[in-house]
């Protein structure tokens, strides 16, 4: 097997706040293979976005600090190559799409100019040539009469169109890895589907890898090859996408699946089950499993000792003591 394109090992990100050190990302390891789509799911505030920003070295510092870990991209350690080398990598080899297409575009620059910017920065193209390619790319992301719209400002475009512009901006240099941070969350459901299929089509064409960050399991089910579930800064379960939906192991994953509405099936008309409680504040240092307080299956050991990742098979593992007592395994539904 070829080595992964992106290999994050034991990444740890701290934020120094007046309330103390908040560990937003606590020993996350994840790998993205060439051409693979990896989904990173979890509730708000569980460290998904911080993880993605850490890969690109975009953690605001201070207060943030990457305190441990390695992020290998091909054979380079992104945490060690320095800000200039990292800047040259961003937008060229690793790109990112953000959640809010409303706020992720500069309100006072024409969209053509913004799509052309990475080309001018990374390829040193003169403005006219860059604008020409930007027009071509806007056509590829299916913006109607793209050439006429080059000089439009973001406020003249709908949310879906703006997200297409963001995608064009992120992909125009042909990156090897695209990090998409909730790319469809702010969009209407119908537009969501269009944007997702556009992203997947572009990904297939360019054989790029993708790290898809979302809280929407539906999006993950449609697009990802593998899924990692994050909770309170840790990866609690990792599995190929079908395995995760068919046999979720970690009680948190099960909770997430139960709280997701589904069409048809036997549970029609049933109330959705939420996971009680909220993610613990990251300033607290917890002994034992971080999910114990909200876990329906928690027992004594969960509150005393921290579970280590344990595998069901080679690709599917979870961080849960229940693994040692398979009988207690909750029923998913």
């Amino acid at each position: 097997m070829s080595p992964p394109l992106l290999d994050i090992q034991d990444l740890q990100v701290d934020f120094h706040t007046p309330e103390g050190i908040a560990r937003a990302v606590d020993g996350v390891s994840l790998a993205v293979l060439k051409g693979e789509t990896v989904g990173l799911v979890g509730e708000s505030g569980c460290g998904k976005s911080v993880t993605s920003l850490a890969i690109l070295g975009l953690i605001p510092s201070p207060p943030g600090k990457i305190s441990a870990g390695r992020t290998l991209f091909e054979d380079r350690n992104l945490l060690a190559i320095g800000p200039q080398a990292l800047r040259r990598l961003r937008g060229k080899e690793i790109s990112m799409i953000f959640q809010e297409p409303m706020t992720s575009l500069n309100p006072v620059l024409p969209i053509g100019r913004q799509v052309a910017e990475p080309l001018m920065v990374h390829r040193n193209l003169p403005r006219s040539a860059a604008m020409e390619q930007a027009a071509d790319y806007l056509e590829r992301v299916k913006i109607p009469s793209a050439r006429k719209r080059l000089n439009d400002y973001p406020h003249q475009l709908s949310g879906g169109m703006r997200q297409r512009v963001m995608i064009a901006m992120a992909m125009i240099c042909g990156p090897k890895l695209l990090i998409a941070d909730e790319p469809t969350t702010a969009l209407d459901v119908t537009i969501q589907a269009q944007i997702l299929s556009l992203m997947m089509a572009l990904k297939e064409e360019s054989r790029m890898s993708m790290l898809l960050i979302t809280h929407d399991l539906g999006v993950v089910a449609q697009t990802a090859d593998r899924v990692l579930v994050m909770y309170a800064g840790e990866v609690v379960e990792a599995a190929p996408v079908t395995d995760l939906f068919d046999h979720p192991f970690h009680p948190y994953t099960q909770g997430l699946l139960r709280s997701m509405p589904r069409l048809g099936g036997h549970d029609r008309g049933r109330r959705l089950k939420e996971i009680p409680g909220t993610v613990p504040p990251s300033t607290e240092t917890l002994v034992g499993c971080k999910f114990a307080d909200r876990c329906p299956d928690a027992f004594d050991r969960c509150r005393k000792e921290k579970p280590e990742p344990a595998g069901i098979d080679r690709d599917h593992w979870a961080r849960c003591w229940l693994f040692e007592f398979p009988k207690k395994r909750g029923v998913h539904g």
Partner: protein, 274 residues
């Protein structure tokens, strides 16, 4: 454009300012009489068909001098705002970008400058450097630096937190380019608004300094200077004071309304909503 002219403040302010600018431009090529030409026969004449605004103690035509005075006022407005804008924006951007120590130093110096009464200090500066239009512009301009620096810093600081800046960074754009291409263009409209208002304030400040004899020097026509000269003849030739005074009020009001109108239409909040 329609958006601007549907605003009453803007329309009135724009029209009034335009009159001032046109009068100044016209005076460069044509005035009813030579503004500096003395004519003892015609001294202290009241408004008439030949001299619509009367004449002064040397028989110079007041209309011609008011028109020429507009040139001094506009030059002072432009130069002082240019001094304040260029240095203020640079310092404000630096303050917002570097933060910490740099920010602290720049902002404390700004506070210090704000603490001085501006006109008094301008008087101090002009009396040290000697009275002249250039020194008056320097004195006023220096006080504009912190005004623009604070404004730039405040807006830039919120901009650096915006998502599109992170998006630009994620695209590999350098910090310098982000500052010029993404931060600065987003500050332009508040700067334009502030600049217009400061322009009006500068006209008033120049008039004050010239009135005290510290600004524009004779024989160059200046509204403040004309008021000063009119003082002695207040009862005999009140038009000598009334018309330059009206000119000052007109110009200051015009540019202030223009600034207000710009604020109404370019309100930073509305820019943010786009």
């Amino acid at each position: 454009m329609k958006r601007f002219f549907s605003n009453l403040n803007f329309t009135v302010g724009f029209t009034m300012s335009l009159v001032v600018v046109l009068a100044a431009v016209l005076s460069l090529v044509w005035t009813p009489f030579d503004a500096d030409k003395m004519n003892a026969k015609n001294r202290l004449q009241g408004p008439s068909w030949t001299h619509p605004l009367g004449t002064d103690q040397y028989g110079r035509d007041t209309l011609s001098r008011v028109m020429t005075g507009a040139v001094s006022s506009i030059i002072v407005g432009l130069v002082t705002v240019a001094i304040g804008l260029s240095l203020g924006v640079l310092l404000g951007l630096a303050s917002a970008y570097f933060g910490k120590f740099v920010d602290e130093v720049i902002m404390r110096i700004s506070d210090l400058l704000f603490g001085f009464p501006a006109v008094l200090t301008a008087i101090l500066i002009t009396s040290i450097l000697g009275p002249s239009m250039i020194n008056a512009m320097l004195a006023i301009g220096i006080f504009y630096i912190p005004v623009f620096a604070r404004l730039t810093r405040a807006v830039a600081m919120t901009l650096w937190e915006r998502e599109f800046i992170t998006a630009a960074r994620a695209g590999g754009v350098g910090e310098w380019t982000i500052t010029w291409r993404h931060v600065l263009p987003n500050i332009l409209s508040p700067l334009l608004i502030q600049g217009t208002v400061q322009f009006a304030v500068a006209i008033l400040a120049e008039a004050s300094l010239s009135y005290l004899g510290l600004g524009t020097q004779p024989p160059t026509a200046s509204w403040g200077r004309m008021l000063n000269e009119a003082q002695t003849f207040m009862s005999r030739a009140p038009w000598m004071a009334i018309f330059p005074g009206l000119a000052i009020a007109w110009a200051v009001l015009g540019f202030n309304l223009l600034g207000d109108g710009l604020r109404d239409t370019l309100d930073p909040k509305m820019v943010r909503m786009r």
